[in-house]
């Protein structure tokens, strides 16, 4: 299905096209990796809604990215339950081994490192989301193994063709 077809299919679930802006942005972001201005305008045109409506959602909700992110978006939870399980140590370690600070992307554009609010998986704190997947009960050894796996995946052509993480 093309992006337009996917968006039109999502829009059929609502009596009002405006409701479909959020699902449409998620579809567009999966397609393009992030949501630059021209993509926002394309979404508005497909749905036939005001462009400002699309812009105001893209800049309100934290899962929408108006700037590019790396192929793997490392989203480490540092809210209370993870903090109590020493997520800070993991953040410091990630910053060290990746050579970037939180909020930044590695020069090879492989990794973007962020801290996020509670992921709703506190039973396996500390937890980190990468793309669609949750990784829990993390420690430094598990973080290192995960980074190795992701780097290997990136070297794999099938992985390289996949859309960047959200």
């Amino acid at each position: 299905m093309t992006m337009r077809e996917k968006i039109e299919e999502a829009a059929a679930r609502y009596p009002d096209q405006r409701s479909a802006i959020m699902p449409a942005l998620l579809i567009a972001q999966r397609q393009h990796g992030y949501l630059p201005g021209p993509v926002l305008e394309e979404v508005a045109d497909i749905l036939g809604v005001e462009r400002i409506w699309v812009y105001e959602l893209a800049t309100f909700y934290t899962l929408f990215h108006t700037e590019p992110v790396g192929m793997f978006h490392l989203q480490l939870c540092d809210n209370v339950s993870c903090m109590l399980r020493r997520s800070e140590d993991l953040l410091r370690h990630l910053e060290e081994v990746l050579g970037i600070r939180k909020g930044e992307t590695t020069p090879d554009r492989l990794f973007t490192l962020s801290t996020v609010e509670c992921l709703g998986a506190c039973e396996m704190a500390p937890v980190m989301q990468v793309g669609d997947a949750y990784h829990g009960d993390l420690d430094i050894a598990r973080i290192d193994a995960l980074l190795d796996r992701l780097r290997a995946e990136a070297g794999h052509p099938a992985a390289a063709a996949a859309p960047p993480g959200e």
Binding site: R13, Y14, P15, D16, Q17, R18, S19, A20, I21, M22, P23, L25, L26, V49, W53, E56, L57, F60, Y61, T62, L63, F64, D78, N79, V80, S81, M83, L84, R85, E117, C118, L119, G120, A121, C122, E123, M124, A125, Q129, D132, A133, Y134, E166
Partner: protein, 421 residues
């Protein structure tokens, strides 16, 4: 020995599939109400059960349903609040991932009761596995005739749609969720009108939490007396408790409403980590005021926790031990609320910004005499003056931390450092 009801399929192999759900008696409640009960009879049953909303506010579910006008010329909607964002809470995710049909049956029975033909399940965007499992379950249930038109040979038509959120804690506030569903920024609405009268697309709308909805089929099958027989009569039922933080066995526990917090933490969740002592427990997600160790006898139900100056909230039980700085915990909680403030009203948007600055300097050893009184004043300026409960939750939580652990805050200022570093 309490027998789990809500979690009985959660650890079953392939429990998320229709075949497993049916094998455990699934969709019998839907069949029963469609065969023999009028919608009003279902509402009465839920009223008699004393079921109260599990999302945090504890409003009586049957009463909420009865506010929906009977005859209107607009469609009615049922919305499921699955935007589980309260830090320390993960119960709804586990139900949707491992037993999604339980939610679909809860939605169908509840929609029948209020006269809705469409439901939207608002799931937070991070919950990708839950979304996939629920999509798969909707497809299975539709193929088997539990969803769709003329369900099980009745006149009842019902469709469930998933609306994926995109990262905004405020969407857990029911009117902000409606704004978000309508494709707007999630900022809470002025009430009245209440959603039951004019909610989604200005139509009568009921918004219920995942855990609330999954209680409904069990009430239909086992009866209101069974439900009321579990825990306190005014706040009854089986309850999901999310245990996290500095405790030996974090996880999801189903136990009677009203169980003492101490029993929950020490017996069921194994107590403090080796060599540590419990210092305090947040009983209902970070909006709930912290309870110091000596207060752990309190019962985990809406009324007992309210009487103790806290709240059941989402039953996200966060255990904090004696190696942890309460100023650091309080700072992190206020940072969260500050980040998630929708920006609509000034006391929340600006007040929390100010509180964060004061807390950060205290934690950094740069606090000044008068800072604690400044925090007291800021809490008073926020509490009761905000548009929705987000600001209230932040202020109540900080006030409790300041009341119970004031010496710890003061020590940071006097010693000009964090005593835990």
């Amino acid at each position: 020995m309490f027998e789990p009801v809500l979690l009985k399929n959660v650890d079953v192999q392939d429990g998320h599939l229709l075949s497993a759900y049916e094998a455990g008696g699934g969709y019998q409640a839907l069949a029963k109400v469609l065969r023999q009960d009028t919608p009003d009879e279902v509402i009465d049953l839920v009223k008699q059960s004393n079921l109260r909303g599990r999302g945090g506010a504890g409003f009586p579910t049957g009463m909420k349903w009865s506010f929906v006008p009977k005859r209107v010329d607009r469609p009615k909607y049922l919305c499921c609040n699955a935007d589980e964002g309260e830090p320390g809470t993960f119960k709804d995710r586990i139900i949707m991932e491992r037993d999604p049909h339980q939610l679909i049956e809860g939605l169908a029975v509840s929609a029948y009761a209020i006269g809705a033909e469409t439901a939207y399940v608002y799931i937070r965007g991070e919950y990708v596995t839950a979304i996939r499992r629920l999509e798969q379950a909707i497809a299975e249930a539709s193929a088997k005739g539990y969803l769709g038109t003329r369900i099980l040979g009745s006149d009842f038509n019902f469709t469930v749609h998933i609306h994926r959120g995109a990262g905004a804690y405020i969407c857990g506030e029911e009117t902000a969720m409606l704004e978000s569903l309508e494709g707007k920024r999630a900022q809470p609405r002025l009430k009245p009108p209440f959603p039951a009268v004019a909610g989604l697309y200005a139509s009568p709308t009921v918004i219920n939490n995942v855990e609330t909805l999954v209680c409904v089929p069990h009430i239909v099958t086992r009866g209101a007396d069974w439900f009321r027989g579990i825990g306190p009569d005014r706040s009854p039922g089986p309850k999901l408790y999310c245990l996290s933080g500095q405790v030996r066995k974090p996880g999801l526990y189903e136990l009677p409403m009203g169980i003492p917090l101490r029993e929950l933490v020490e017996e069921h969740a194994g107590g403090a980590l080796p060599g540590r002592k419990i210092k305090a427990v947040i009983p209902g997600g970070v909006s709930a005021p912290v309870i110091p160790e000596h207060g752990l006898e309190v019962g985990m139900d809406f009324d007992s926790l309210a009487a103790a100056g806290s709240m059941l909230g989402s039953a996200g039980v966060i255990v904090i031990d004696d190696a942890t700085c309460m100023v650091k915990v309080a700072t992190r909680i206020i940072e969260f609320f500050h980040h998630e403030s929708c920006g609509k009203c000034t006391p929340c948007r600006e007040g929390l910004n100010w509180v964060v600055k004061v807390l950060r300097r205290i934690e950094a050893g740069e606090g000044a005499p008068g800072d604690l009184e400044q925090l007291d004043r800021l809490c008073k300026g926020i509490f009761g003056n905000t548009f929705c409960a987000l600001g209230d939750g932040a202020a109540m939580g900080l006030q409790a931390a300041l009341a119970h652990f004031r010496e710890e805050f003061a020590a940071h200022i006097e010693e000009r450092r964090c005593p835990f570093h």
